[in-house]
Amino acid sequence: MEQILANGIYLGAQYAMIALGLTLIFALMNVLNFAHGQMYVLGGFVTYTFYGQLGWPFVVALLASCVTLAVLGALIEKFLFAPVIRRSSREESTMLLAAGLAFFFDAIILLVFGEKQRGVPKIVNGVLNWDFRIIMPYDRILICFLAILSIVGFIVFMQYSKTGRALRALAQDRTAAQLMGVNVERYSMIGFAIGAMLAGLVGGLLVTITGVNLGMGGPTSIKAFMMVMIGGAGVISGAIAGGIILGFMEAIGLAVLSQYGDITYLLIFVSLMIFLAIRPQGLMGKPWG
């Protein structure tokens, strides 16, 4: 029982972080960023390069991941998404662009970092074993703690900083924000950069535990979509809730249904579909986004 709880919290925290960036971008620009998982992978590879290969301190490598992805995100928004949104008659067209970007990142990652699974040295050794009721390696506890810290930091940033408030205004109502004097273009770019940065950050954090390989991008994106949907698209608290719920669903499902192995995920997916059919806006979303 305690183990399920611990697994749930650990999974939930990392999922919530992945979902946060995606939901932020969605809230701001109504873009379903298919390339989010690839950004996460890219973040992982940057940390791998600096920490695992070049031997820099982990924190510096993590910062490098954040900065790289933030810059990349800003450029992508400015030169790709913004013009396409301007020119397109239906905003769903950005999905093709996002998918193209996902392929593009996949290609770049393959060419630059290769096809192999990569890992970095552990940041902390040892395993916490509380009487076999909770078994949790220390590095996971640390990463989980850092993830929660980042989530809290992000919420504080969104609540209290000037940028955060502008972003929230923008997410709520683009036109109203514009009337209020928010520089919509500038803040869209900043928002996208922050969303990408979050992906890079969580990629960098998780590379210490799960390692990284070029195939992780697509599935990560899909998982992140699911979390966002559970919580409600474009709602920050919803993304966190969605991440934690999915984390717990996996932890509980795998523990309870393990003898029916093949159908654990089937059940998770089906219940997700039923849930969404009954409550399309997710837990906290506005109806019809």
Partner: protein
């Protein structure tokens, strides 16, 4: 009810000649027989994409066509291998079964809009894949293999369709069959879009509330359209199963669902023939870039991004506005 203009008749004729005469002639002359399969794939994938396009036409982003293609492939494979019925009978049955499933699923989920519908269909693809892995009738992970080729159809002793297994070149037969299906599909689509149902779809795409206020039973039309869409997916999937002579849970996956959607975007959501062109460019493009080796994906995705940047409304938006096929 629009009558076809002279130019449109000519266009249609040229298209038919190109597909059924010029392409085979070119392939025979150049010896590029591998194009048969590639173009067969394009034809079949564009049928499934046409279904997705239709759901776009009522304003729904459908990332679940892979699920229906897989259902279709399995239904046909099971009917042919286990029940021993003719492939040609299993083909419409596969489509109908996919349509039936889509009605059952569609009733609750079609109320959803925007990304919500997109996500639920995305999950649907995975559900069907996992179900195929878990069920005994689909033979689980081992898939269904060694499916016989389509047999012959004869009416009063006259062979209408020959036994594919006895043909010297079954690829050519599959090419003709698939192209014929594609032509039928798109003719029907064109007709549908320009008939009352199409107009109602358009009204729903633009404003569902207003549409229901003028007495349109939007729930009914959504289900009808989703069923047609899934029918096309099932047909496409069943044909593929027959060509590969095998079906696995991984025969159609989330990637395929996403690709079907991308085909529509690339061709242009406002044009009936968009999915056909989109499929051709996306699928054939990949094959043409085969020479690039390790740079294939890089160049492919790069071109995709550039296309999107300059033609965000699809390739067909290059046409002069107002002359769009769907009658923008």
């Amino acid at each position: 009810m629009p009558r076809l203009s002279m130019i449109q008749w000519t266009g249609l004729l040229v298209f038919l000649i190109a597909v059924f005469v010029l392409v085979p002639a070119y392939i025979a002359a150049s010896g590029r027989t591998d194009f048969y399969y590639t173009l067969t794939s394009v034809a079949l994938l564009s049928i499934a994409s046409a279904g997705v396009w239709l759901t776009f036409y009522i304003g729904r982003i459908n990332i679940g066509q892979g699920a229906f293609a897989l259902i279709g492939a399995y239904v046909s494979a099971i009917l042919v291998t286990k029940a021993g019925i003719s492939f040609w009978l299993s083909l419409p049955l596969a489509g109908l079964f996919a349509a039936l499933v889509s009605v059952l699923i569609g009733v609750p989920i079609l109320r959803l809009r925007g990304v919500y519908f997109a996500m639920i269909t995305l999950v649907l693809t995975q559900v069907v894949t996992l179900t195929a892995l878990a069920l005994p009738v689909t033979n689980g992970a081992k898939g269904i293999t060694s499916i016989p080729l389509p047999g012959e159809i004869s009416v009063f002793g006259l062979t209408v369709i020959p036994d594919f297994a006895g043909l010297e070149n079954p690829r050519l037969a599959f090419y003709y069959t698939s192209c014929a299906l594609m032509v039928l599909t798109f003719a029907a689509m064109y007709r549908l879009v320009n008939s009352r149902l199409g107009h109602l779809c358009r009204s729903m795409q633009q404003n569902e509330e207003l549409a229901s206020s003028i007495g349109v039973n939007i729930a009914y039309i959504r289900v009808i359209v989703f069923a047609i869409s899934s029918f096309l997916g099932g047909i496409g999937g069943a044909m593929f199963g027959s060509i590969a002579q095998s079906v696995y849970p991984s025969s159609f996956q989330v990637t395929d669902s996403v690709n079907f959607m991308l085909n529509c975007f690339l061709g242009g959501l406002g044009y009936v023939f968009g999915p056909m062109l989109g499929t051709l460019v996306l699928y054939f493009g990949w094959d043409l870039l085969f020479e690039l080796g390790r740079y294939q994906l890089l160049v492919y995705s790069g071109l995709l991004i550039i296309l999107m940047l300059f033609l965000p409304n699809g390739l067909l938006s290059l046409r002069i506005r107002g002359k769009g096929v769907a009658g923008r």
